[in-house]
């Protein structure tokens, strides 16, 4: 490497170029993989879109009539799960970041992370064997006393295998994700803002209202969307707990529930053949598109906040 003409720039060595080329290749591979996911899913979906809809399961009038209840069930279950998980998660995040004593706060965080470590199939087993029987009396009561309310219209499910049970399990599963993100954001609240509020005589809740929550709002929104994305794609819980039917209904406690895209794929894929496989792949493509959009929005919100936050 000792050449006669000294140059102010470092010599580009072959090994350096090979190494950096490898890293660029690895990075590009990820982009290529993501593109391949889209391309191959589309390629396998096309036969289902052009096929005679009578060949699909349940002989719907068109492919879209087949997808509509599934797409509705996916969004409805995920929305219910988010509705339950979001307040609880924000509460836990506040508890860990601003209420619990410093010494135990990290341990409490680990406990919540434990929930994230439980595999989804175990949640499914728990949901069907423990939770569903446990909530059946509650559903009975709801339908008997609040049956006039459209969400609890009779008849009641005798097994507890309803979309509400699914949503509860999904909520438990997304709580750790939402908690982790919101906790990080709450911890980044500028100390000076908090102390200024306290110094003006605010109680702890008033301090959180004026300092922590406004600062953390973008973080909470994106955490909610990340949780939503996770709930949309969750498969095994739906496949194991729900008793599905091909219809669109908002009723929470009936034995006739709209299934979700992911749950429907898991239930039908092992036995599917021919154009049925393509139809399932096509529904998967729709799920992929929905989660991609939601996750992208969440990431954009997070990244924008990072750039303009006053924390750094």
């Amino acid at each position: 490497m000792t050449t006669a003409t000294p140059s102010p720039r470092a010599k580009s060595r072959l090994a350096d170029r090979i190494f950096s080329g490898t890293t660029v290749f690895a990075g590009s591979l990820i982009l290529a993989a993501l593109a391949a996911v889209a391309v191959f899913l589309i390629a396998q979906s096309i036969p289902a879109l052009v096929a005679d809809p009578a060949e699909l399961k349940g002989s719907p009038s068109s492919f879209w009539a087949y997808v509509a209840p599934l797409a509705f069930g996916t969004v409805w279950a995920a929305f219910l799960a988010l509705l339950m998980a979001l307040p609880v998660s924000i509460g836990i995040a506040l508890f860990i970041s601003h209420y619990a004593p410093r010494r135990v706060a990290q341990g409490l965080g680990y406990i919540i992370d434990l929930l994230a470590a439980v595999p989804s199939v175990v949640f499914g087993l728990w949901g069907i064997k423990i939770l569903a029987p446990a909530v059946t009396p509650l559903y009975d009561w709801l339908v008997n006393n609040l049956g006039w309310f459209p969400l609890f219209a009779p008849p009641v499910s005798g097994t507890g295998r309803t979309i509400l049970t699914v949503a509860i399990v999904l909520a438990v599963m997304i709580i750790p994700i939402i908690t982790a993100v919101t906790r990080e954001v709450f911890l980044q609240t500028p100390r000076l803002h908090e102390e200024a509020a306290l110094a003006l005589g605010a109680t702890r809740w008033e301090m959180i209202q004026v300092a922590v929550l406004p600062f953390g709002r973008p973080g909470m929104i994106s955490a909610a969307m990340l949780g939503l994305g996770r709930a949309l794609g969750e498969t095994m819980v739906v496949a194991m707990v729900l008793s599905p039917a091909a219809l669109i209904t908002f009723v929470l406690t009936s034995s006739q529930n709209p299934s979700t895209i992911a749950g429907n794929i898991a239930l039908n894929f092992p036995e599917a053949h021919g154009v049925g496989v393509n139809a399932l792949v096509a529904t998967g493509l729709i799920l992929f598109a929905i989660t991609l959009v939601i996750n992208s929005i969440a990431r954009v919100v997070i990244n924008r906040r990072k750039a303009f936050s006053g924390a750094n």
Binding site: R13, A15, D16, I18, S20, T23, V24, A26, G27, L29, I30, L31, L34, A36, V37, F40, L41, Q44, S89, I90, G91, I92, L94, F95, I96, L108, L115, A117, V118, P119, S120, V121, V122, L125, W126, K129, V172, T203, R204, W205, I208, R230, G233, T235, A262, I265, A266, F269, P270, L280, V281, G284, L287, F288, T291, I294, N295, A298, R299, N303
Partner: protein, 360 residues
């Protein structure tokens, strides 16, 4: 605020109008006892049964109301709101603990029934009803996850190196963004992708094999590896790199000999956590690796069982006598949780023991 000041000698004006420190705790215990007593009486009267989870949750809700009323009467509305929120926030935590405790308790108590040597030494081949085990599933899980790790770690680590050491400009930004987006890919979509890919490439519309599962799992694992390795590489102080350059060491050797060894503990932790995340994935393996009752050591051909799919199939396709199948499902679930916990523990230990001592 002065409504409660009584004329008993000296009054400390700073502490009047406040509930004493023990008041919330006393209220909490009292609420639990009251709800527990009501539930107990109802159970004794044959109206439902005693349920500790219901008592704890309802008791805590009663406490939320009681502490608000109490604080409102003694301390005024601002303090009352503060106490209400404090108790609500604690309630949220307890509510989240109930499913966790219930789940761990059921899995352990139901799983222990078949947690025996037979379970870990036999497959399900020719087993109907009693007996049988999950050796084929455990082997499959180890092989599939191992192959997924072999694919994900080089790609993920090299990408992280690119992002931290080389990456500037639009490509790096695109990779960062899409890695983030990739973390949100539903696992079943990853499975469908692996299926769609191999079914088209290998021209086999009913394809099922182990390596396909590994590819699907890598798709889920790579973003986790990239994210954690990136964080760890960023933690390496720039002074170390500059010292190395000053000694005339080329950049690639600096990365291999200085940057990576310094951050290897953190990277190992990240990889272990990534393995823990994908080892419990069911849906993609159900689709591309399928299920079988027999041993299969060959990743490249035939269906291969994995532990999560084993749990699912034992639950979903039981024989005429359901009990042994359910017991195997619970034991499989227990094994799975133990593996995941063990991986998490290893990750934390590695992080604690081998992390470099960076001065200070």
């Amino acid at each position: 605020m002065t409504a409660t000041t009584t004329t008993t000698g000296i009054v400390n004006s700073l502490t009047t109008g406040r509930l004493p420190k023990w008041a919330p705790w006393l209220t909490l215990v009292a609420s639990w006892v009251i709800v527990g007593a009501i539930n107990g009486f109802m159970a004794a009267a044959g109206n439902g049964e005693f349920n500790i989870a219901v008592v704890l949750v309802l008791g805590t809700v009663l406490f939320d109301v009681a502490i608000f009323v109490l604080a409102y009467l003694v301390e005024g509305v601002r303090q009352a709101k503060d106490r209400l929120v404090t108790s609500l926030v604690a309630t949220a935590f307890i509510v989240a603990l109930v499913p966790l405790v219930s789940l761990l308790f059921t899995v352990v108590s139901n799983g222990l029934a078949r947690f025996d040597p037979l379970f870990f030494s036999s497959s399900m081949r020719n087993v109907v009803g009693d007996g049988g085990g999950a050796l084929h599933a455990i082997m499959g899980t180890l092989l599939i996850t191992g192959a997924a790790t072999l694919i994900s770690v080089p790609v993920g680590l090299l990408t992280a190196i690119y992002l931290v050491e080389y990456g500037r400009g639009p490509l790096a930004r695109a990779i960062t963004f899409f890695v983030d987006v990739m973390t949100g890919i539903p696992s079943i979509v990853a499975g469908l992708f692996a299926f769609a890919f191999f079914a088209l490439v290998l021209q086999d519309p009913g394809i099922r094999f182990g390596l396909g599962g590994s590819v699907a799992l890598s798709l889920l694992m790579i973003p986790v590896v990239v994210r954690s390795s990136e964080e760890m590489l960023k933690l390496v102080p720039n002074e170390l790199r500059e010292a190395s350059y000053a000694l005339g060491v080329p950049k690639w050797l600096t990365i291999l000999k200085i940057v990576i060894p310094t951050s290897i503990a953190g990277i190992t932790t990240g990889v272990t956590l990534a393995i823990a995340r994908v080892i419990g994935e069911t849906a993609p393996l159900l689709i591309i690796s399928g299920f079988t009752a027999s041993m299969n050591y060959d990743l490249l051909k035939d269906r291969m069982m994995s532990l999560p799919v084993f749990v699912y199939t034992q639950y979903a396709n039981p024989g005429s006598d359901v009990q042994p199948y359910l017991e195997r499902a619970w034991t499989g679930a227990l094994t799975l949780i133990l593996i995941v916990m063990l991986l998490n523990l290893i990750a934390r230990l590695v992080a604690r023991i081998f992390s470099p001592k960076l001065g200070r």
